[in-house]
């Protein structure tokens, strides 16, 4: 079984999971469920039809017309339009650029008209047509990404307080960025094909590795939270040691009674690590008023006093305090 077949199977298994989940384990509205279902199904269709060889094999059954390319193009563009609508709903905001809303209406029409035009007129250079269609498709998705998807994912990262979802928002931002990098190659290839110049194939494949990264990131952000727990744990461990370092610094200025320490192996358990972070924070908040008010200690005192006053919640307080450099 080839790598591509395994990847296609993995994508369809993920689709199956989403379809089952949306059917049997969600109380969401019909409309919202179908927005998600269509996105994953259309993405899976486009992914399954990846590659020129696949196109040639399937198009044989359609009199060698580029039906597969048409289906892939329409699928991916539709995913972009659906994601754009979903992102507007998530942000509860209108489109950042009005033209993005109109593209959603016109893209299927333009794509269908272009395909029909090809069928009717019979343009001979199939290879050039392929570069032009892919270039047009990727340019459109790139436009959506730069105008809405990347800033939208970044907005979600900033707004989100659940650590696993912050990771996923970063994944999406990175996914779209990788896609845009790949699109540079395909758009350049389209330009070369239109200008009837050599080198379109080399240019189109030069940045292709980035699309594999984009696909992996796209699938990753569909996975349940617990799969990211190891990543979040390591970040929390870093927070703990920074707090401990600050606590030890304050201990130079104030006698702190010993509290029983949590053994290092228990810090590998998420709940124990969280407790250790909490305890260290309380020690810092209790004893920092004893710091010298001059010099470096005075600077640390002011930072702690400021964060204590301004941080809106526990999570933000930790985030601000671990940034204090000694």
């Amino acid at each position: 079984m080839s790598g591509q077949t395994i990847a296609i199977l993995a994508v369809w298994i993920t689709v199956g999971f989403v379809l089952i989940r949306s059917t049997y384990h969600s109380d969401a509205s019909h409309h919202d469920k179908w927005i998600i279902r269509l996105q994953v199904i259309l993405f899976a269709i486009a992914f399954s039809l990846w590659g020129e060889n696949t196109e040639l094999q399937i198009d044989r059954y359609f009199n060698d017309y580029p039906v597969t390319l048409f289906i892939k193009t329409l699928s991916l563009l539709s995913v972009s339009v659906l994601y754009h609508d979903m992102l507007k709903s998530i942000r509860q905001a209108s489109s950042p650029l009005r033209i993005l809303d109109y593209l959603g209406v016109f893209i299927p029409i333009i794509a269908t008209l272009a395909f029909t035009f090809y069928v009717v007129t019979g343009i001979p250079d199939r290879q050039s047509l392929r570069f032009i269609v892919i270039g047009f498709r990727d340019a459109t998705i790139c436009f959506f990404s730069i105008a809405h998807f990347i800033p939208g994912s970044w907005w979600m990262y900033k707004q989100e307080s659940i650590p696993a979802m912050k990771v996923k928002a970063l994944c999406m931002s990175a996914c779209f960025t990788c896609f845009c990098i790949t699109a540079i190659g395909s758009i350049s290839a389209a330009g070369l094909a239109i200008a009837n110049l050599e080198g379109a194939y080399s240019v189109s494949t030069a940045l292709q590795p980035f699309i594999y990264i984009a696909i992996i990131l796209f699938v990753l952000q569909l996975t349940p939270h617990r799969w990211f727990s190891w990543l979040i744990q390591s970040g929390r461990l870093r927070d703990y040691y920074r707090l401990k370092h600050l606590e030890n610094y304050i201990a130079n200025y104030a006698y702190m009674p010993d509290m029983p320490q949590i053994p290092w192996y228990d810090l590998l358990k998420a709940s124990q690590l969280e407790l250790a972070v909490y305890r260290s924070l309380i020690m810092i908040l209790d004893y920092y008023p004893l710091l010298d008010k001059q010099g470096k200690a005075g600077f640390v005192y002011q930072q702690l006093a400021q964060h204590s006053e301004e941080a809106k919640d526990y999570a933000q307080l930790i985030r601000q305090i671990v940034k204090i450099r000694l």
Binding site: F17, V18, R21, S22, H25, S26, D27, A28, S29, D32, K33, I35, I36, M86, I90, R91, Q92, M156, Q159, E160, S161, I162, P163, A164, M165, K168, L222, P224, H225, R226, S229, A254, Y255, P257, D258, M259, P260, I262, P263, D266, A270, S271, Q272, E274, L275, Y278, R279, L281, I282, L285, D286, Y287, P289, L290, S308, E309, A311, D313, Y314, L317
Partner: protein, 189 residues
């Protein structure tokens, strides 16, 4: 009771050991998976059969909380100038004294008369949480502090479960889509 002799359980959400604190919590019988501070205050008040009134006060930074045992109610004063998490910790510390039935002391043994006058606490009994008192390693203060950490151990264990099984996202507009995709398992009622 010295600090060293207090065994800090490394498995606060699981099997209980024989420390007085964990026995007291077990006897209290509060469900920490649904912890809410106001609810916990009411629960403890019900347990000790006396009203507990929690109030903010402007105190100096070194003093984080004061418990006053008055004739008809317990008063818990917390320093309103502190961060909310510090305030909650201090409130729980004072509640610990009440739950663990620590004998209150005359407050003029803890604070100077001038300070007592400033805080309007003459001539009551109680206990206080302050840097000076914590540094003295008073056994009751250590026990109260350990009580709070034990509660927090149970809360973090419950929170951890909530993160895995509850809310998938904090972004309101995204909740329905996160649920459809199944980012976090949801307990169905």
């Amino acid at each position: 009771m010295s600090l060293i002799s207090i065994k800090f359980s490394s498995d606060c959400g699981g099997k209980l050991n024989n420390t007085s604190i964990e026995l007291a919590l077990e006897k209290l019988g509060y469900d920490f998976s649904i912890f809410d501070l106001d609810d916990f205050v009411d629960y403890v008040a019900g347990d000790v059969r006396r009203e507990i009134i929690v109030r903010p006060r402007v105190l100096e930074k070194r003093v984080t909380g004061i418990w006053v045992k008055a004739d008809t109610a317990h008063y818990v004063f917390y320093n309103s100038t502190l961060h909310r998490i510090h305030q909650i910790h201090s409130i729980l510390h004072e509640l610990a004294h009440i739950v663990l039935r620590h004998p209150p002391k005359p407050l003029d043994e803890i604070f100077s008369k001038d300070l007592l006058k400033d805080y309007d606490l003459i001539p009551f009994v109680g206990m206080a949480r302050s840097i000076d008192i914590l540094q003295h390693n008073d056994p009751h203060e250590v026990e109260a502090e350990t009580f709070v950490y034990t509660i927090q151990g149970q809360l973090t264990a419950a929170d951890r479960l909530k993160i895995l099984t509850g809310q998938a996202t904090s972004i309101e507009g995204f909740k329905v889509f996160a649920d459809i995709v199944g980012y976090a398992d949801r307990k169905r009622s």
